[in-house]
Symmetry: C2
Subunit: 182 residues, 2 copies
């Protein structure tokens, strides 16, 4: 599938009234702002309390274990993104229990939202980006083979919050017509 | 200031192994992923409990009142972004008290993080994007002239959480070497 060429923003300069270089269209001056990306993921447990991990089939950190997580897509809520990632990477259907943690990784411009979740059915299988999927009892978790520090963080925070409700920020108001803040 | 032309991603097609059209560089096949943007803002109060609002000098909703808020920049944590927006729009120095709410506005691909904050000094002035800045007592808030529904939501949630600690998700672990989740 090949769509028409986008001429669009391809020149990097400081737009009038701004203080940072941006990607600008030389024909129409449209500015394509580049902003931090949102990663959504979850610490998922089975009914018997084991934790779902997936072994990465792709770089970086191929072969290491991680939580189901990935970039939020356009038009998607963080909650739906976390559920999609569990489906894509571990073929798992999950139900979210709440927002466990918000991490900001400024040197790579990421904000990561991790949810606490449980498996709706005890079924999982490797997705296209995973070599292997496994449910680990807590004392079986391969700490030395985890892919990223934030996987350590999220598992540690999951453990710290065991047996209690998560402190939650407020969320969308039902029935309200949401809108941008400029 | 004019930097060299970026040839870069300017063709829209579905990359191999993907299922969505992306902006791709026809020379090197680099993919520029477009993802939801993060808006950070805060409900800021003065020592006597009045709420800081700014009147928009720019479209959309020019002339309407809003909370200090805006897009998170590359390399910036949400907390620093919220403090920067208060400085830019209201010339206010603020101290954050915690994460009040997370809203997701999927039809415009935004995730909005609102903090509860207080003014470090009782000084404020309109920034370049504001016509006016004012501290409103709760019963003076111009509800009919608020710029966006999420401003209503955040003020309502601020009111609902009065006098109590905010339920918080976990955050960055000190001293840990943060890293991407792919």
């Amino acid at each position: 599938m090949k769509l028409p060429i986008t001429r669009g923003p391809r020149e990097r300069r400081v737009p009038e009234g701004d203080d940072k270089p941006r990607l600008v269209c030389p024909e129409c001056s449209y500015v394509a702002y580049e902003n931090p990306k949102i990663v959504v993921g979850s610490v998922v447990t089975s009914d018997d309390g084991r934790v779902l991990l997936v072994r990465r089939a792709i770089e970086p950190r191929r072969g290491f274990w991680t939580l189901p997580a990935g970039y939020l897509e356009l038009g998607e809520s963080p909650e739906h993104g976390a559920m999609r990632e569990a489906r894509e990477e571990a073929c798992a259907e999950i139900a979210l229990d709440g927002l466990l943690a918000v991490y900001s990784i400024t040197h790579i411009s990421q904000v990561q939202l991790f949810y606490r979740a449980r498996m709706v059915r005890e079924e999982c299988a490797p997705g296209i980006e995973s070599l292997e999927v496994r449910l680990f009892a807590w004392d079986e978790i391969p700490w030395a083979e985890l892919a990223f520090p934030t996987v350590h963080w999220a598992l540690g925070h999951f453990d710290a919050a065991r047996g209690r409700a998560l402190g939650q920020p407020f969320g969308n108001v039902e029935g309200g017509p949401p809108d941008p803040v400029g």
